[in-house]
Symmetry: C2
Subunit: 236 residues, 2 copies
Amino acid sequence: MYELWYWPTIPGRGEFPRLALEAGKIPYRDMAREAGEAGYKALGKDLDADRGDPPFAPPYLVTPDGTTIGQSANILLYLGEEYGLAPPDQSGRLWVHQVQLTIADMVAEAHDTHHPVALGEYYEKQKAEAKRRAEDFRVNRIPKFLKWFERILSERGDWIAGESWSYADLSLFHLIAGLKYAFPRRMAAVGGDYPRLMKLHDAVAALPELQDYLSSDRRIAFSDGIFRHYPELDAA
Amino acid sequence: MYELWYWPTIPGRGEFPRLALEAGKIPYRDMAREAGEAGYKALGKDLDADRGDPPFAPPYLVTPDGTTIGQSANILLYLGEEYGLAPPDQSGRLWVHQVQLTIADMVAEAHDTHHPVALGEYYEKQKAEAKRRAEDFRVNRIPKFLKWFERILSERGDWIAGESWSYADLSLFHLIAGLKYAFPRRMAAVGGDYPRLMKLHDAVAALPELQDYLSSDRRIAFSDGIFRHYPELDAA
């Protein structure tokens, strides 16, 4: 059985491997979630555990043979290879990973809209800077990234690679969901410019293999993680 | 022959695949560099070229069969597999990639010290915010990342994986070189806390297979790229 470790109360970066595990019907335990209120403490303890391949940060996946795999894109690379969640040929495998790494770049930038100057301090201590960073993100970065995703879908068809979803499609769904949560006015204003991307979001949300998960309490609601809704950081 | 595309006057993210190509003795053309003063224009034109797998941003590598591989960590994953610049077994391959992705995270944070709120605007327009971000980076993030790199070297030995260098060791060398350039006072103050890491930096700098490259003008000096030396952003 796989063990997924991530902060128990936010989707965060843990949601990318979690979606792949769920859509791929891969049995796993969500370790810190299972621990309930003690989840944060359990994760901290596990991070400090003596292991040969310590992860820098959650999420990380411990495989049944005890290997620890850190970095969400790296976990997905592994799951993609092992469970056919990406094309098996080298070119398709690298392509899906390239898209995943670009999604990760946008996720990091989305995070920095509310934490532009001090990663470990409260948002309230960097509101003025956050306002500038969020404006740049809304005006310049959202169109730059979404235009690229739209362009590759126009080249590739309904999915990032091949005839069905890959782990990068699942991640793209979560990215769009997060952007809609954090920047509803901006996404309402520009969403129509990216019809293929919005269609992909809806198609992943409707995947039969995800229905059970998405309607369960295993799918954690957005709140104060990477994607946060501060009305003052949003605008059309 | 491989074609590497990256901005021609800064090491930037292009330096990570470039170091692997050079140390691996893999023949390549540095396309925008070759174009001299016209390199920026040539890169812009190539980015707009009609291709099935458009890259989001440089660097990207075009393989002899015409495949475009974007994202520096993804290029390294490919080169690692094709040329033995990473362990061939799955576990070692994923481990080296995990380290590379963590290096990429720190590189992105190093960049944001001088561009914390508006990626496309001049540093001069965000100096106050840069001062806060750089302080957080120096005080909190440098020790957090370097401590982790030091810890994994203490588990693994002289190199990130195995008996010899991998692409992640080359990248770690460049990361440390960049940090020393951008934050000389901070790195002088804390460098002694990370002896294995500093030893790895020196060992890569002394690799016989890199001597020709490092003393050539193909190795671009740090200036106004990702790692920048603004004395006001540095402190012990």
